[in-house]
C-alpha cells in the first residue's frame, strides 16, 4: 500500500482507475516504442495519486514524447519546441491547485529548451517533468541529440559525433534540483513508482526515462536491457536501503577516497554492513551526482528527493502577506493613491 500525498491539490471523491484517463485518440507512436509503456505508467499513477481528474494538466513541447498529452484524457497543452517547461510554469503559477506533468525529450528540454529546463529546476516550481531520453531525434528521423554518446553515428554525424553529451542528472543537480529519478521504459513498475514519488515531492521533479527508439536508435540501452547481464548493470536505489545489486545480490557501492566503488559482498572481508546506504533526502548533492553519472552500474530509482521551498508556495505566501499589510484593496484605491489633486468647477 502506497502512502498518500498531502498537498493543496483537491482529491477525487471517488476512486479512480487508469481507464478514467483513457483518451479516445489513436496512438501514433511506432509499434514497439518505449513511449507506449510510459503513457500506461502515467495513467496508472494518475489513478493512484487520486487528484480530481480535472486537476491534471499535461504539457509538452515538440518531439515524439511530446505527443503524449493527446493520449491522456486530462487537460493538455501541446506546445512548441523546447518551451514545455516555460508553458507549464505559467500554468502552475496561475493556478497552483493544478497537478502539472511535462512530457519532454532530450532534444526538447536539453537542446532547444535547455534554458527553460535549468531555470524551472532552479525555481523549484512544483511540477513533474518526465524526460524521455532516447539519445536521438526521432521525429525528424535520426539526428544526434545532446545525450547521444561521443562518436555516435547518426544522420547528421555520419563520421561520429564530436560533442560531449549531457548527463541529465548532472544538469538537474547543477541547477540545484530537489528531485531526480531515473527509470527505464521496460521497467513499468519502477516507472510507476518513481512517478508517484515525483508527485509526492513538493518542488520540481525530474524523472528521466531511458527510452528505446526502435527505428532510429534501437538498442541504445542494450547494455542495461539485455536479459543476460541486465542485473549486473542496473542498480535500483531506495532511500534508506543499502545500494546492493547484481544477479546474486552480491554487489554493492562503497565510498572510497571520495569516489563510489563497486565491491562484492563476501570478497576482501566486505559484508552487507559496509555497503553505502542511499540517502535521497540529504541536501548535499555530491553522492547524488556520482550516482547520476555512474555507468557501471547505471543507477535507477529516486536518486534525490530533498525538501526546499517552492516558487509557487512562496508566490502565494508573498501575495497573502502583502495583501494583509496593504491599504490598497482594489483598483479604485490604487488609482486614487499617492499624489493626486482636484480641479474644481
Amino acid at each position: 500500500m502506497k502512502k498518500s500525498i498531502n498537498n493543496t491539490i483537491p482529491k477525487s471523491d471517488v476512486p479512480l482507475t487508469p481507464k478514467d484517463f483513457e483518451s479516445d485518440q489513436i496512438i501514433r507512436w511506432c509499434p514497439g516504442c518505449g513511449d507506449h509503456m510510459i503513457v500506461n505508467s502515467l495513467k496508472k499513477v494518475f489513478a493512484e495519486i487520486g487528484y480530481k481528474k480535472e486537476n491534471y494538466v499535461v504539457v509538452s513541447g515538440i518531439g515524439c514524447s511530446s505527443r503524449l498529452p493527446y493520449y491522456v484524457n486530462s487537460y493538455g497543452f501541446h506546445g512548441i519546441h523546447g518551451r514545455a517547461n516555460a508553458i507549464a510554469s505559467g500554468v502552475k503559477i496561475a493556478n497552483p491547485k493544478l497537478s502539472i506533468w511535462v512530457a519532454t525529450g532530450d532534444g526538447d528540454s536539453l537542446a532547444i529548451g535547455g534554458n527553460h529546463f535549468i531555470h524551472v529546476v532552479r525555481r523549484n516550481l512544483d511540477m513533474n517533468i518526465i524526460l524521455f531520453n532516447n539519445q536521438i531525434y526521432g521525429l525528424t528521423k535520426g539526428q544526434y541529440s545532446p545525450t547521444s554518446p561521443l562518436g555516435a553515428v547518426t544522420k547528421t554525424s555520419p563520421y561520429g559525433t564530436i560533442e560531449h553529451p549531457f548527463t541529465t542528472g548532472e544538469l538537474v543537480l547543477g541547477a540545484q534540483g530537489t528531485f531526480f529519478a531515473r527509470s527505464l521504459d521496460i521497467l513499468v513498475d519502477l516507472t510507476t513508482n518513481v512517478l508517484f514519488e515525483a508527485a509526492s515531492h513538493d518542488g520540481t521533479s525530474v524523472i528521466e526515462i531511458f527510452q528505446n527508439c526502435v527505428i532510429f536508435n534501437d538498442g541504445a540501452y542494450n547494455e542495461i536491457t539485455n536479459k543476460e547481464n541486465r542485473d549486473d548493470n542496473v542498480l535500483i536505489v531506495e532511500d534508506g536501503q543499502p545500494m546492493i545489486f547484481g544477479k546474486n545480490k552480491d554487489k554493492g557501492l562503497v565510498l572510497n577516497n571520495f569516489n563510489l566503488e563497486v565491491v562484492t559482498i563476501g570478497e576482501n572481508g566486505i559484508t552487507e554492513k559496509d555497503i553505502l546506504v542511499h540517502d535521497a533526502k540529504t541536501p548535499s548533492p555530491f553522492i547524488h551526482l556520482m550516482l547520476a553519472k555512474m555507468h557501471h552500474p547505471w543507477v535507477f530509482g529516486v536518486i534525490r528527493k530533498t525538501p526546499a521551498p517552492t516558487y509557487d508556495d512562496l508566490m502565494e505566501e508573498q501575495i497573502s502577506m502583502v495583501k494583509a499589510k496593504s491599504n490598497i484593496k482594489c483598483m479604485d484605491d490604487l488609482l486614487n493613491s499617492g499624489d493626486t489633486w482636484e480641479i474644481k468647477e
Binding site: E54, I80, A86, A94, K97, L98, K323, L335, W341
Partner: protein
C-alpha cells in the same frame, strides 16, 4: 511663450512654458524635474514630462554623451506634447549647454550653474572659448547663478560634496521666483523625500530658499504669471506611460474578475511595466521574471490556458524572439496581451530612443496565416485605456492582441484624469459551460470565438496545441479542406473585431485641403501642428488611428475625404503602405522621420504647408 502684459504684480502673463533641466546624470536633474512637476500638479496646471537619459548608467562627468535631461511642458490649457523647443533651459554644466542650445527658442532664457563653467569642464565639453563670455549667447537671456559655490558656502556644516549636491535646489528656488510659485509644495516634497536625514532636509531647504532670494538680486530678472487653469474638473494625478500600461492591465483583470499574470524579461524601454506590476502583490498580480523573452510569452500562454489574464511586455528585439509563440497563441486561440514599447531598431538599435518601426513585424511577422489585432496607444495617459482595451479584446475574442506603445510615450508622463472603475466597460470572457458538451473549436456564429475551458473545471478536459486541429472537435488533423477552413475561421474572427471598434473620427473640416493621418504615440505633435495651421487659416483635418488591425470599418470613407492625404509616422512608411495595400484608389503622401526622436510640431507644420502649397 504667448506673452501678454498684465498689471499682475509686474509679472508677464504666460499660458504655456517648456523647461528643460540638463546636466550630468549625477546632478539631480530627475529630482529637480520631479519636484517642479509635483508643484505644477498642486497648482493644477496641465503638463507633460519627458526624461532624456543616456544609455550608459553613469557616463564620465562633463561629457556631451553623458548629458541627461528632464523636460516639462506646462500650461493652463491642454498640453499635447512635452514640447519641441525650450522657453527655459537650465544647465548644470557646459556639455549640457552644448548639446541642448539648438533647441532653445530664440530669445529664450538660459539658466546656468556658472560655478561649473570651469576651464576644465569647458574643455571636456569641447568648447574653445567660454560661451558665457564670448557673446555667442547674445540672442538669449542668460542668468548666471553660481549655484554650486553658493550651496557650499551656505551649507558649511556639511561636507563639501553633500553641500554641493544641493545646487539643484538653489536653481529650483530661482525658477519658483521666476514663475511666482510658492515654495510650500517643494518644501513638502523635500521633507518627504529625505525623511530620515534631517541634515539633508535642512541643506536642501536652505539652498532652495537662498536661490529664491538670490534671484531677487539679479538685474532684469524675468518674472511670469500663469492664469487659472482650464482643465476639465475632476481628480487628477501624474502618470508615466509605462505605469499607465501596467495599471490598464490590472484594471482589466479586476473588471474581468481574473488574476493577472505577467511573464516578462527586462528590456529598455519596457522594463518599467514589469517593475510597476511587481509592486502590486496586494492586488494579486503575479509577475514572473522569466529567463528570457520566449519564456516570458510562453509562460503567459500557459497562464492563459489556466484561466488568467496573461500578458508579456517587451520592446522590439524581444518581440522578435516571441514571434513563434505568438503563432502558438493564434493557433490555440488563447487570450494574451503582448505589449511592445517600440524603440529604434533594427537589432539592438538605439534602446533609449523612440521609433514606430515594429508595425510590419506586428502585422506580418509570423509564419503561416496568423492575424493578430493591433491597438496603438496615442499618449502616456492613453496607455492605460489602450492596455485595458487590448485585454478586453483578447479576453472576449480569445486571441492574442498586440499593444504598441513606444519609448517616447512609455517613458513620458502626463496629467491623468483619474477614471472610476465603475465607468470602465465590462469584460465578459466566453467561459465554457461545464454542463454542455465541450468542443474546443466550436465557435459562436456572430464573432467566430471559441469557448474558454479552464483546467480544474470538471468535464471540460481537452487538448490544445500548435498542431492544426479539426474544426469544432479539435482533433489533430492534416486534412486539406479542414486546414483551409480553420485558416479562414481565424482570419474571420479577427476581421469581425472591426465591428467592436468605434468608427474612425476626423477632426477639422470635412472637405479639407489636406487630411493628416497619424497613429500611435505621435498624436500630440500632429494635433499641435494642425491647431497652429488652422489658426493660420489653413483648411486641414486630422484622423488619428488607435486601431491598426483590423482597421475601423469607415476607414476608406474617412481617407477619401481629404483632397490630399499625408501619413506621418516615425518609420519609413509602414502604416502608409498598409493603407496602400487596402485602399489602392487613394494617393498617400508620407512624412517620415527615423532619428530616434519624436516629431517636432514645427517640422510637421513645414511638411504640411509644403504639401499644401505644392
Amino acid at each position: 511663450m504667448n506673452e501678454e502684459t498684465t498689471p499682475m504684480s509686474g509679472r508677464k502673463q504666460v499660458n504655456d512654458i517648456v523647461i528643460k533641466f540638463v546636466g550630468d546624470s549625477g546632478d539631480g536633474i530627475q529630482l529637480s524635474g520631479n519636484i517642479f512637476a509635483d508643484t505644477l500638479a498642486h497648482i493644477g496646471l496641465d503638463m507633460a514630462t519627458f526624461p532624456d537619459f543616456p544609455a550608459e548608467v553613469r557616463a564620465p562627468r562633463n561629457t556631451t554623451f553623458g548629458v541627461s535631461g528632464f523636460q516639462i511642458h506646462f500650461s493652463n490649457k491642454k498640453v499635447l506634447t512635452p514640447g519641441d523647443e525650450y522657453d527655459v533651459l537650465v544647465c548644470f554644466n557646459p556639455a549640457s549647454l552644448k548639446v541642448n542650445l539648438k533647441n532653445v527658442k530664440q530669445g529664450g532664457i538660459i539658466i546656468v550653474d556658472s560655478s561649473n563653467f570651469t576651464p576644465r569642464s569647458l574643455e571636456t565639453a569641447g568648447y574653445t572659448s567660454n560661451p558665457l563670455e564670448d557673446n555667442s549667447l547674445d540672442n538669449y537671456i542668460v542668468l548666471q547663478i553660481p549655484a554650486s559655490e553658493m550651496s557650499i558656502s551656505i551649507n558649511s556644516d556639511l561636507d563639501k560634496k553633500s553641500a554641493e549636491r544641493t545646487k539643484n535646489m538653489y536653481i529650483l528656488g530661482v525658477l519658483y521666483n521666476m514663475f511666482g510659485f510658492e515654495l510650500k509644495p517643494a518644501i513638502n516634497y523635500i521633507n518627504n523625500k529625505f525623511k530620515n536625514t534631517s541634515q539633508l532636509i535642512n541643506a536642501n531647504l536652505k539652498s532652495l530658499e537662498e536661490g529664491y532670494k538670490f534671484s531677487e538680486t539679479l538685474k532684469n530678472f524675468p518674472k511670469f504669471y500663469l492664469a487659472k487653469c482650464e482643465l476639465i474638473p475632476g481628480k487628477y494625478r501624474d502618470i508615466q506611460g509605462n505605469v499607465a500600461t501596467a495599471w490598464g492591465l490590472m484594471a482589466a483583470a479586476e473588471k474581468a474578475g481574473l488574476h493577472l499574470f505577467i511573464g516578462s524579461y527586462p528590456i529598455t524601454p519596457a522594463t518599467e511595466i514589469l517593475v510597476e506590476l511587481s509592486k502590486h502583490r496586494e492586488l494579486g498580480v503575479k509577475t514572473f521574471q522569466a529567463e528570457d523573452e520566449i519564456a516570458g510569452i510562453t509562460s503567459a500562454i500557459g497562464a492563459s490556458f489556466a484561466g488568467a489574464l496573461a500578458a508579456t511586455t517587451t520592446s522590439g528585439p524581444g518581440l522578435s524572439l516571441k514571434v513563434e509563440a505568438m503563432g502558438l497563441a493564434v493557433m490555440t486561440e488563447l487570450p494574451i496581451v503582448i505589449v511592445d514599447v517600440q524603440r529604434a531598431g533594427p537589432s539592438t538599435g538605439m534602446p533609449t530612443k523612440s521609433e514606430q518601426a515594429d508595425l510590419y513585424m506586428s502585422m506580418f511577422g509570423r509564419n503561416g496565416e496568423a492575424p493578430i489585432p493591433i491597438i496603438a496607444a496615442s499618449s502616456s495617459v492613453d496607455c492605460f485605456f489602450a492596455a485595458f482595451e487590448a485585454a478586453k479584446i483578447a479576453l472576449e475574442h480569445m486571441t492574442p492582441v498586440i499593444l504598441l506603445s513606444d519609448g517616447y510615450i512609455g517613458l513620458g508622463s502626463s496629467v491623468f484624469r483619474i477614471p472610476k472603475m465603475a465607468d470602465l466597460p465590462e469584460i465578459r470572457p466566453p467561459f465554457a459551460d461545464p454542463n454542455v458538451k465541450y468542443y474546443p473549436y466550436e465557435r459562436d456564429d456572430e464573432w467566430y470565438v471559441r469557448k474558454w475551458a479552464i483546467p480544474g473545471t470538471p468535464g471540460l478536459q481537452h487538448r490544445v496545441g500548435g498542431l492544426e486541429k479539426s474544426d469544432i472537435y479539435g482533433e489533430v488533423t492534416t486534412d486539406a479542406k479542414n486546414h483551409e477552413k480553420m485558416v479562414i475561421n481565424r482570419e474571420e474572427k479577427i476581421k469581425r473585431i472591426a465591428h467592436k471598434w468605434p468608427l474612425q473620427r476626423i477632426t477639422g473640416p470635412e472637405d479639407a485641403d489636406l487630411l493628416v493621418v497619424s497613429w500611435g504615440g505621435t498624436k500630440g505633435q500632429v494635433e499641435g501642428a494642425i491647431q497652429n495651421l488652422t489658426t493660420k487659416g489653413y483648411r486641414i483635418s486630422h484622423t488619428h488611428f488607435r486601431y491598426i488591425n483590423p482597421l475601423p470599418l469607415n476607414t476608406h470613407e474617412i481617407l477619401k475625404s481629404g483632397k490630399k492625404v499625408i501619413v506621418c509616422e516615425l518609420n519609413r512608411g509602414q502604416f502608409a503602405n498598409i493603407l496602400r495595400m487596402n485602399y489602392q484608389d487613394i494617393e498617400f503622401h508620407q512624412y517620415n522621420k527615423v532619428q530616434g526622436q519624436p516629431f517636432t510640431v514645427r517640422e510637421l507644420e513645414n511638411a504640411f504647408t509644403e504639401l499644401l502649397n505644392s
